[in-house]
Amino acid sequence: MTTIASSAALSAPRRARRYMDRKSLVPLLLFIPPALILFVVLVVLPMIDAASFSFFDWTGYGPMTDFVGFENYDDVLSHRHFGTAVRNSLLVIAVSLLVQLPLAMWVSLALVEKRWSVNVIRTLFFLPYMLAEIAAGLIWKFVYDGNYGIIPTVGDAIGVEMPFVLGDKFWVMPAIMLVIVWKYFGFHMMIYIAGLQSIPSEVIEAARLDGVKKWQIVRHIKLPMIWGSIVISVFFSIIGALQLFDLVIPLSNGGPNNSSHTIVTFLYQFGILRMKLGFGGAVSVMLFIACVVITVIYRRLLFSREVD
């Protein structure tokens, strides 16, 4: 009986798709709900909640009754430090794309081979990525420390009085961005190496035998062939920059004078710590919309090319 039924299902997959196999009902009821419930209750519903309490003046206790329309959004947009936070986040994106990814690409081109020495270097470069942001932040807080850190020592050696970089409105963002490059370029390097290793060696070999120069191979063969990896790493850079939080807290905590806030530290400082949930909800919604818009545009523009 069952053999006939399943062989029929095999021979006519199209028809079978329309029916729900009765035997699959129990496993479905067992397999899907745990994930679905967790996902809906802790991921989807909170985001809908955020959207709803962004329209109220609410401190988190009691019913939401004080409907204020778009006032919270207005407050966020006109907040003294929101502009700084957005600008800093954009700055981080720019540095990621213009400094970090080229560095990762440059390094990965040299580290494709599967050799022992290359493996050691690769592991070393990937190490900061695995480190907790908090630990990385504190290590660099020490490096930058104006009294005991590495920066003033280097300053002594070359005879220059170094500023307290993390206490300086001008230097604080470059300092944070240097740590970002230190922490994350290894991740992008790994993505690129994975892409480069998947290029069939015959392709490179053929080009080389035809006398194509090394950097022409990189430009005209390697880079186009790892387009997919580049697209993915750019995407991670942008989304990661918008989410930046853990690294900034130990380094500068948004200071000095709130000059190094990112969108999420801004949300934490002015929405969560002060329990201004309507205000925080508005920030969350805007950040979420930014992520969705970027993802959708990005998928339309770039991910489709990856399929070709």
């Binding site: 479905l28 067992l30 630990a135």
Partner: protein, 284 residues
């Protein structure tokens, strides 16, 4: 095969030019110096940090380290982090592999829609939703409890884990599942006895990713926990740093004690992390 590639290698120009080696060396120094000064700094006196930043410490006095081990809550915070990370890994591997299995192998109405629905989660990193998540956990009575962090982390890891499992399950030979079904083997048994044992590499990858994510996470525990004894190690180290201000040797010793296990774990597990990244790219 091996012979020809050796032949080719001999004829080939050197793969890494001198200039590339130079940049590699600079980048390596850039990576190493902060680690090196941190680990040695724990042995130095505060004055020594400035006068002798790169040299070996004058004495290998472990007082900072023993002081931290015996007098602070370091081990309790490490234990809390370990418990949370392990629970997160077990739960997320189980829950996401079950869902991915159903989505990959069982035909049912709406499975495509459901997959897209879960993939929405890729757009919701926890920090975006941290504020409403806090309210939700509070309403569920899970504030200041490890369980609250665990289930929130599992929920936010689902999208990524399901995607990884789903693509791996799709690549498993379909004949295996068909053959098992013809032998009247139910989906539950197929999942447990066929699919999971074949999926150890991807289980390791998902597990390691979620472990590292949980071990390193800061924002979620920061918002959920408020009793010292429940703190995870990132909260513990921030508290310690707050207490000792700029007594850097102590802070560096504390840092060293927390990053050494992380580096050890990384060296053991990097195979899975990298094979997750590279394997996915090569096969996909």
């Amino acid at each position: 095969m091996a012979d020809t590639s050796m032949d080719r290698k001999r004829r080939r120009r050197p793969e890494i030019s001198a200039f590339q080696w130079l940049t590699l060396a600079l980048v390596a120094a850039f990576i190493i110096v902060p680690f090196y000064t941190t680990i040695l700094g724990g042995f130095k006196s505060i004055g020594e940090l400035r006068t002798n930043p790169f040299g070996l410490p004058a004495s290998w006095d472990p007082a900072n380290f023993t002081g931290i081990i015996f007098e602070t809550a370091l081990f309790r915070s490490l234990w809390n982090s370990l418990f949370i990370a392990c629970s997160t890994v077990v739960l997320s591997v189980l829950v996401s592999s079950m869902a991915a299995f159903a989505l990959a192998h069982i035909r049912f109405f709406g499975s495509k829609f459901l997959m897209s629905f879960f993939m929405l989660g890729l757009l919701f990193p926890a920090s975006t939703a941290i504020l409403p998540l806090f309210i939700k956990l509070r309403d569920l009575g899970l504030l200041d409890k490890h369980l609250g962090i665990i289930i929130a982390q599992v929920a936010f890891s689902l999208a990524f884990s399901i995607v990884l499992f789903h693509s791996f399950f799709k690549r498993l030979p379909g004949e295996l599942i068909d053959a098992a079904r013809m032998d009247n083997c139910g989906y539950l048994k197929i999942y447990w006895y066929i699919t999971l044992p074949l999926s150890l590499p991807i289980i390791a990858t998902v597990g390691v990713f979620n472990f590292v994510g949980s071990w390193n996470s800061f924002l979620l525990p920061l918002i959920v926990l408020n009793t010292d004894s429940n703190y995870t190690w990132p909260l513990g180290i921030m508290q310690f740093q707050g207490q000792y201000g700029s007594d850097w040797p102590k802070i560096l010793a504390y840092l060293t004690l927390t990053i050494i296990p992380a580096i050890g774990f990384f060296l053991l597990a990097q195979r899975y992390i990298i094979s997750g990244l590279t394997g996915g790219a090569v096969k996909g």
